[in-house]
C-alpha cells in the first residue's frame, strides 16, 4: 500500500505520522518472525481467538443444556466420548462451556486493554508534555487511584450498578489506566526534552503535531508492552471477579465455571471440570506476557528483561 497514492486526501502532517507508524510496525513484524517463543505465544493466542470465533461450530452442545439419560441427570460425569471434558454438577457439558468461555476472556481483555490504552496514553502524554498544573492535577488522580484496592473497588461498583459484562469492564478500565498513565507520562517527560522535539518546536510545529508526529511514534513500543500486560491483567481480574460470584450473568466465563466447581464442592473429585478453565486462563495470560517481552526485546535488545 503506497501512502502517496491513497485515494483519500491526507494532509502533510497525517502522511508523515502514518509513515512513521508504518515504519515502526514493519520493523516490529520482521523481528517478530525470528523469535520462537514469540511464534509460540502468537500460536496460543490464535488458537483461542479461533476457538472464540468458531464457538458455535466447535461446541457440540448449548452450554446451558442439561443432560438427562433415562430419567437420570448426568451429574459430574467423568470425560467420555459424548462429553470430552465430562459434565458439571448441573449436568451440563464442560467442553461446550469451555469453548464459549474463551469469548468472554478475549473480549474482556481486548476491550479493557484498548480502553486503558487510549485513556492512559492520552492522560500520560498530555501530563508529560504540558507539565505544570495540568501534570500536577492529572498525577494526583493517578496517585489516588494507586491507593485504591483494585478488586474491592470493582466489587463495589459491580454490586452498585449490576453484574454485567459492560459494568465489569467499565469498572476495570476506571482503575487500571493508572499504570499506563504513569509509565507513558515519565517517558513523555524525557522525550519532550530531546533535541528533535525542540527542533520541531523551533520550526513552528504546533503542540498537537509534536505530540502526534514526534512523541507518540516513539512511545509505540512502550504502549504495546503496557497494553499487552493490561490485557493479561484484565483477564485474570475478570476471572477473579467471576470466581467471587459477581461475574457476568448473561454468559458463562472460565471464571464462573471455576466459581461453580468451588461453591458446589466439586473440587473434591471433578478434576476434569477444574483443569480446563484454569489452564486456559494461564496459557492466555502467559501468551500476552511473552508477547510483551518480545516487543521489549526487539525494541531494547540489550537487556532481555521480563518486567511485570
Amino acid at each position: 500500500m503506497n501512502l502517496e497514492t491513497l485515494p483519500i486526501e491526507l494532509s502533510q502532517t497525517r502522511r508523515a505520522a502514518l509513515r512513521r507508524y508504518r515504519q515502526s510496525a514493519t520493523e516490529l513484524f520482521v523481528a517478530f518472525r525470528g523469535q520462537r517463543s514469540a511464534m509460540l505465544a502468537a500460536g496460543i493466542l490464535a488458537f483461542f481467538v479461533l476457538l472464540g470465533i468458531l464457538a458455535p461450530v466447535i461446541a457440540p452442545y448449548d452450554p446451558t443444556r442439561t443432560f438427562v439419560v433415562d430419567g437420570q441427570a448426568q451429574r459430574l460425569q467423568p470425560p467420555s466420548m459424548a462429553h470430552p471434558f465430562g459434565t458439571t454438577s448441573l449436568s451440563r457439558d464442560v467442553f461446550s462451556q469451555w469453548v464459549y468461555g474463551s469469548r468472554v476472556s478475549l473480549l474482556v481483555g481486548l476491550v479493557s486493554g484498548l480502553a486503558v490504552m487510549t485513556l492512559g496514553t492520552t492522560v500520560g502524554v498530555v501530563a508529560g508534555y504540558y507539565k505544570g498544573n495540568v501534570d500536577l492535577a492529572l498525577m494526583r488522580i493517578v496517585d489516588t487511584l494507586y491507593g485504591v484496592p483494585a478488586t474491592p473497588f470493582i466489587l463495589l461498583l459491580v454490586l452498585f450498578f449490576g453484574t454485567s459484562l459492560v459494568n465489569i469492564v467499565l469498572a476495570m478500565v476506571l482503575i487500571l489506566w493508572r499504570t499506563m498513565a504513569r509509565v507513558i507520562r515519565s517517558e513523555t517527560l524525557s522525550l519532550a526534552e530531546q533535541p528533535f522535539v525542540k527542533a520541531a518546536r523551533a520550526t513552528g510545529a504546533s503542540d498537537r503535531r509534536i505530540m502526534a508526529v514526534h512523541i507518540l511514534p516513539n512511545l509505540l513500543p512502550l504502549i504495546m508492552i503496557e497494553t499487552t500486560i493490561i490485557i493479561a491483567f484484565s483477564i485474570t481480574l475478570e476471572a477473579g471477579i467471576s470466581f467471587l460470584g459477581l461475574g457476568a450473568t448473561e454468559v458463562t466465563s472460565w471464571g464462573t465455571m471455576l466459581e461453580l466447581t468451588f461453591s458446589s464442592g466439586a473440587i473434591r473429585s471433578a478434576w476434569w471440570w477444574v483443569l480446563p478453565p484454569g489452564i486456559s486462563i494461564t496459557l492466555l495470560v502467559l501468551s500476552f506476557f511473552y508477547l510483551s517481552r518480545i516487543v521489549e526485546e526487539i525494541t531494547n535488545p540489550e537487556t532481555g528483561r521480563f518486567d511485570l
Binding site: 489516588t144 494507586y146 452498585f160 466447581t261 496459557l283 511485570l308
Partner: protein, 328 residues
C-alpha cells in the same frame, strides 16, 4: 541532604493524606448515591421507626448532605465507624481481629516471597541465557499468570482432599480454644492451617521479586566494578552474591512494601478460596449482605494500608538511594 530528604518525605506524606481524603469522599458519595433510602447506609432496615429516627439523628442523616459530610469525616477520623448490621457490634472491634488475620497470612507470604524470590532472581541472572534461566523464568511467569484462586483450588484438591495432609480452609480447628490472644497465632493448630495458603500465595508473589532481581542483576553484572572484582581475582560466588546482589537488591526492597499493599487488595480472592477470616473476606461478605457500615470501613482500611505501604516504599527508597529525593 537530609533537609531535602525531609522535604521530600513531608511532600509524600501530604500526598498520601490527600489520597486518603479522596478515597473517603468517594466512599461517602458512593454509599449515599445508592438507589433507595440513604439511611440504609448506616441503619439496618428491620429496625423500628423510632429507633431508626434516633439513629438517623445520631448519624445526622436528617441533615443536608454537606453537614453529613462533615459528620462522616469527623466519625472517620475519631474512629467511630458505626455498628455492623449483621453482628450488632462496633465495626472497629470487628475489624481489628480481621486485620491481624490478614496480616498473619499476607505479611508471612510477602516476606517469604521476597526472601526466596530475590535469591532465585540472583541465581537465574547468574545462569543468564542458559536453559536453566529460560525454563526458570518461564516457570516463574507461569506462577504469576495462573490465577491465584485456581492454584489455591488445585492445592486444596491435592493436599487436602486427596492426600489429607492439611485442612482445606479456616484458621483454626473447630475444637481449638485459644487461652490468650497470642496463643491463637503461636499454636501448632494455627500453623497447620497456615501452611497451604502461605505456600500458594508465596509462589504467586514470588514472581515480581524474582524477575526484578534477575533484571537488576543483569544490569549490575555489566558494570565496571564487577569487571574490577574479576580482575582482582575474587571468586565467582563472592562476586555474585557479595558484590552484585547487594547492589541489585535495593530496588527490590521498594517493591516489597508495594507488594504488601497489593496483597491486601488481593486478599478478597485469596481469603475466599481458603475460607480465611480476614479483612478481604469480611469486606466481600459485608458488601453482599448490604452491611454498609462494615463494608465501607473495611474498604477504607484496605485503602489505608495500601496508601501507607506506598508511602513506606517511597520513604525506603530515599533512605536506600538519596538521589530519589532530588530528582522528584
Amino acid at each position: 541532604m537530609s533537609r531535602q530528604r525531609r522535604r521530600y518525605l513531608l511532600k509524600r506524606l501530604a500526598l498520601s493524606l490527600f489520597s486518603l481524603w479522596v478515597v473517603a469522599t468517594f466512599l461517602f458519595l458512593a454509599f449515599r448515591l445508592l438507589p433507595g433510602d440513604p439511611t440504609t447506609a448506616v441503619i439496618a432496615p428491620e429496625m423500628s421507626a423510632s429507633a431508626r429516627e434516633e439513629l438517623a439523628a445520631q448519624y445526622g442523616l436528617n441533615q443536608p448532605l454537606h453537614v453529613q459530610y462533615v459528620l462522616f469525616m469527623r466519625n472517620l477520623v475519631t474512629g467511630n465507624l458505626g455498628v455492623s448490621f449483621q453482628f450488632s457490634e462496633p465495626v472497629s472491634d470487628l475489624i481489628v481481629a480481621k486485620l491481624v488475620n490478614t496480616l498473619a497470612l499476607t505479611a508471612t507470604s510477602v516476606v517469604l516471597a521476597y526472601t526466596i524470590g530475590s535469591m532465585l532472581g540472583a541465581f537465574l541472572a547468574s545462569k543468564r541465557n542458559t536453559s536453566i534461566d529460560i525454563y526458570g523464568t518461564g516457570l516463574t511467569l507461569v506462577m504469576y499468570a495462573a490465577p491465584v484462586f485456581w492454584t489455591g483450588m488445585l492445592a486444596i484438591m491435592l493436599f487436602s482432599f486427596r492426600l489429607g495432609w492439611v485442612p482445606s480452609g479456616g484458621i483454626h480447628s473447630v475444637t481449638f480454644v485459644a487461652d490468650s490472644f497470642w496463643d491463637g497465632y503461636l499454636s501448632v493448630d494455627f500453623l497447620y492451617h497456615l501452611v497451604l495458603p502461605v505456600t500458594v500465595t508465596t509462589l504467586y508473589f514470588l514472581s515480581v521479586p524474582a524477575l526484578t532481581m534477575r533484571n537488576n542483576m543483569i544490569d549490575v553484572l555489566d558494570q565496571d566494578f564487577i569487571e574490577m572484582s574479576r580482575a582482582a581475582g575474587l571468586s565467582r560466588f563472592s562476586i555474585l552474591y557479595r558484590h552484585a546482589a547487594r547492589n541489585a537488591l535495593l530496588p527490590v526492597l521498594h517493591y516489597a512494601a508495594v507488594s504488601l499493599g497489593f496483597a491486601f487488595g488481593g486478599s478478597v480472592v485469596i481469603e475466599t478460596v481458603f475460607s480465611w477470616p480476614g479483612l478481604g473476606k469480611m469486606m466481600f461478605d459485608a458488601t453482599l449482605a448490604q452491611d454498609f457500615p462494615l463494608a465501607q470501613s473495611t474498604f477504607f482500611l484496605l485503602a489505608t494500608v495500601i496508601i501507607f505501604m506506598n508511602f513506606l516504599a517511597d520513604a525506603l527508597s530515599v533512605y536506600v538511594d538519596p538521589r530519589a529525593a532530588v530528582t522528584e
